[in-house]
Symmetry: C2
Subunit: 586 residues, 2 copies
């Protein structure tokens, strides 16, 4: 062992002790005949002192230490004269007697500080230096702790962590698979799992009763911001349970994580909201409930007054922004520009201020008398000082989604989206299907194994688009952190669902034959869910991106710039795989 | 919830309680007007009783239950008349009041019993049924427990579990990589990691201090018995430590696993043996020390007596099998045949029995007088009733390996390799290099980042083949369960090692440039090791194969016969990847 203590360990009570520390030189500075160095390791920073007077050659050696040199020192712990209250070790320093340089360092390409001068690309290329920064390191520490606590919670509740294979078969349905050519089976390919969905269902058929796994999953998608080609799920499944049991177990898990990792005791049951209500009141299946500002529909009040934009609309609705009547014309114009951006695509925005005397002044006053506006005010629950913002459109769902963006922006502007406040919610009763314009057919909203609500089963034949599923998402602060469903365990019902999804019996057999076959041998009722670990950690850490809670993330082109992967293969490797690449060489 | 209790939970103290259970029908039997059914779930088996008298239609329904039907029953717990002491629930039964068939089952292709009539192939194809068997399931339960306890032990010692990427770059050195074509970077490939070796070293450079990960690794090798293309490692690395620290931490881990999972307290320090001694005395770098029978070299005694086989040999040595003088001529011939098998390739075997009166009778008596044989007896430590077995050859190492096989076989025959006895050992001081006939050069015995022993560094220039490494293996019962080394943290020494391994500076840069570059920025002294989880579980479970501690293993052709993977891809998928397969279609 190169040390007796870590750099985060020594306190005033250790004064007088002879210690050996090892770590990285954060910085050095000279003061008169003294040299001070901050020695850093994962556990903290400890101040080292060298003095000209006591040992001039040692002091000289200390002055030669560069940033990020790896050194070992032996010395005596001493109470500091000027204490640093920001450091746990700030009351002491080490009077160094021996210094050994374990490794030198060339000058790092950016500063190893909480606030660094390194840009994103540079930090990723030198990720091993970036990870030395406390702000990045603590995310990985949090991730470790969260994963461990999840395992502990679930293990205590009889869940078994079972590893499912990474080299499985490809399923053309859904997102694109990463594939792996098999050398021993030329012309054939494995696929990397997008999730262990079917495997965990097989584990339920196998009688494993309660399964979980913290597991890497893979999706070869064009990477939008904040997606990674490989990501980690907390994947769970239970047998002989109903939806309520799942919600209870995993709400409990989340509460225990908040208590253990953030010190937040959540005593109340998580709010529950149907998908239909979430869409109606927040225009989103993952509403951010850190603040209210629900949508209010005002067709009854605002139509029929000659304002053609509203009169011709299928939907007129809005939000009431408390205390925002002070918004200037300029701010309101900026809001209008915001919703008109192509990403949102609204036509415009109508606003109405409730003035101090209770009167309402709107941007469309020429169409509405004060009596109507007072009706509006009442329905919106607006009071003096509030700002009412209205939107309208031909397509109610589309308009709600635009209004959702406006609501979130107002939440930001009014400071209602505090990263240290957490609003947890279950969204339930998702529709079984959603219409895909692209495919021209109904698609499974979750996946084809999701069970319909018992009372909606008769509608499968008459009105499949209205059938609700036993599916649920956990939403925190507008982020879908997890989701799942009760599965179909009945082979006949499964066959019917496949048919509605447009699978021929042959295609269903080809793709999911192994699962359908397994279900013939006594499948128990079962269901589960999966959390996105990356997302959960970044939420707990208050990060804007999942990238900083991943040790070695990939960039938006799916590249690891540190490893310089992917890369061209040796021809020999391709030959062994019996593959020819038709891509142009650079 | 479909149940109030599991099938393993009810005891005599629950008698009188009304309960609901759910599970699989293990078997039913009729007795007079009664029907008994064994209901099974992961937690146990509970007996159900139906009676003609109490409810004839219910009894009739019970008689229709087939094997592996999934049912839910409600009834009353009652003390059994004839108790079953082999079952934890054997003192009670459930008098069923309500029966609900949750799912039927077709007849399974093999019996779901500890001793099944299903062959290996059938069991793998229907692995979800095989996993219902208690003997298989308990291996997965053990695996879960072991993984959790490893995490707990390491977390308590400041190790952080850090996920390293699965999609990395290919390294032509070493075993063959599985590769993954990149669609977003056409013509380029990721590789799946054979181990996170370089990544964990980067984490040490990153100051993570103590890392571990229970992680899938991948090797595209031709599969010998008991290898899997994907396998799981407990991968560990530490900074600012020496070899002794690593041995201490991980010996502690192993002892805690034995105590927790097998109830075995190991108080003594694990035995340590140099690689040279292991080869000399056991002909193996992973000796099985559940029994002694070390090799004794007897060139001094046995050469020069006119027995040309020995006289011309570079090595003459043997083992003393206690109490085996009773071996018949037939048994000895079988032993001779055993070592002459092509897999072992010995020329023959000389034996000498120590008779009750202390005289030695050997198969080469015509060359040796009794005085010489008495010398042999003394050197071998043989006593009356023992059997001495001698082998010889031109190549000492080769002969030792043959003698190793003989020793293990004698251990088997004499019942000295008890699966419930564990002999733990550290093999240390491995050579840095081994000569590869195939490559015609020295190869790294561990990997190119292993550090040489400080005192052997001068020999790097003069006699590299004699240089010992700071490398160590943990061996239990003749199985290498883990191994590792102290790494090189000095860029100059690393460059020298690469040179000895025949890497040009350019090739070293190309393959390991990212690591060598990282080492310029202050790499700490570090080292680590990795355990094979599959192997460790199978050792603790007393299994002959690692397959039964893996939920969904692959066969010797690398196929998952349950999923039928790998398989041909859709042409569309290949086109997107810009790949053409030159393999012939079936």
């Amino acid at each position: 062992m190169y040390r007796t203590h870590t750099c985060g360990e020594l306190r005033l009570s250790n004064a007088g002790a002879s210690v050996t520390l090892a770590g990285w030189v954060q910085r050095t500075r000279r003061m008169g005949g003294m040299t001070f160095a901050d020695l850093r390791d994962r556990y903290g920073i400890t101040q080292l002192v060298f003095s000209e007077e006591a040992d001039s050659s040692l002091n000289e050696a200390a002055q030669k230490l560069g940033r990020e040199y790896v050194i070992q020192v032996t010395g005596q712990v001493r109470e500091r004269e000027s204490k640093n209250k920001n450091l746990p070790t700030g009351e002491i320093e080490i009077v160094v007697k021996e210094l050994r340089v374990l490794n030198e360092s060339v000058t790092p390409p950016f500063t190893i500080e909480d606030e660094t001068d390194g840009g994103d690309d540079l930090r990723m290329k030198y990720r091993y230096l970036d990870l030395r920064r406390q702000v990045v390191r603590k995310n990985l520490e949090l991730r470790h702790e969260m994963a461990f606590k999840v395992r502990k919670y679930l293990s205590e509740r009889n869940f078994l962590e079972i590893e499912t294979p990474v080299l499985i078969g490809s399923t053309p349905e859904g997102a694109r698979d990463f594939v792996v050519p098999s050398r021993m089976n030329p012309g054939q390919f494995y696929a990397l799992p997008q999730s262990p969905q079917t495997l965990k269902q097989l584990l339920m058929v196998a009688g494993m009763d309660r399964y979980f796994q913290i597991v890497k999953c893979f999706r070869d998608e064009d990477l939008r911001a904040d997606r990674q080609p490989e990501f980690t799920q907390i994947d769970c499944e239970m047998s002989f349970i109903e939806q309520e049991d799942i919600l209870e177990v995993f709400e409990g898990l989340m509460k225990s994580l908040f208590a253990d990792l953030r010190g937040i005791e959540m005593k109340e049951q998580f709010q529950r909201m149907t998908w239909a209500d979430a869409m109606k009141y927040y225009g989103s299946d993952k509403p951010d409930l850190r603040f209210g500002m629900p949508f209010v529909e005002v067709m009854d009040i605002m139509q029929g007054h000659g304002f053609s934009v509203f009169d011709g609309a299928k939907y007129v609705g809005g939000i009431c922004a408390k205390g925002a009547a002070t918004y200037t014309r300029k701010q309101l114009d900026q809001l209008t520009d915001y919703v008109k951006r192509p990403q949102i695509g609204a036509k415009g925005l109508v606003y109405a201020r409730v003035e101090a005397d209770g009167n309402v002044k709107s941007s469309v006053d020429k169409f509405y008398d004060q009596a109507t506006l007072q009706q509006l005010k009442a329905k919106m629950g607006a009071e003096a000082g509030d700002l009412i913002l209205l939107m309208s459109g031909d397509d109610a769902m589309k308009t709600r989604k635009q209004l959702c963006e406006l609501r979130l922006e107002m939440g930001n502007q009014l400071g209602l989206r505090d990263k240290n406040k957490f609003a947890c919610l279950w969204v339930v009763d998702f529709p079984m299907y959603e219409w895909s314009e692209e495919e021209g057919r109904l698609m499974a909203m979750h996946h084809p194994f999701t069970s319909p609500k018992l009372e909606d089963v008769p509608m499968l034949d008459t009105d499949p688009a209205s059938v609700r599923a036993n599916a649920y998402d956990m939403v925190i602060n507008g982020v879908e952190v997890g989701g799942g469903s009760i599965r179909i365990h009945d082979a006949q019902l499964q066959a019917k669902i496949f048919k509605i999804l447009g699978f021929t019996p042959e295609k269903a057999q080809e793709q999911f034959g192994f699962l359908m076959n397994a279900f013939k041998y006594g499948a128990p009722p079962h269901g589960g869910l999966a959390f996105g670990l990356d997302r959960l950690v970044s939420l707990f850490a208050g990060l804007d991106s999942i990238r900083d809670c991943i040790a070695f993330p990939k960039n938006n082109s799916g590249r690891d710039v540190m490893l310089d992967a992917p890369a061209a293969l040796d021809q020999k490797q391709l030959d062994e795989l019996m593959l020819v690449s038709t891509a142009k060489k650079d």
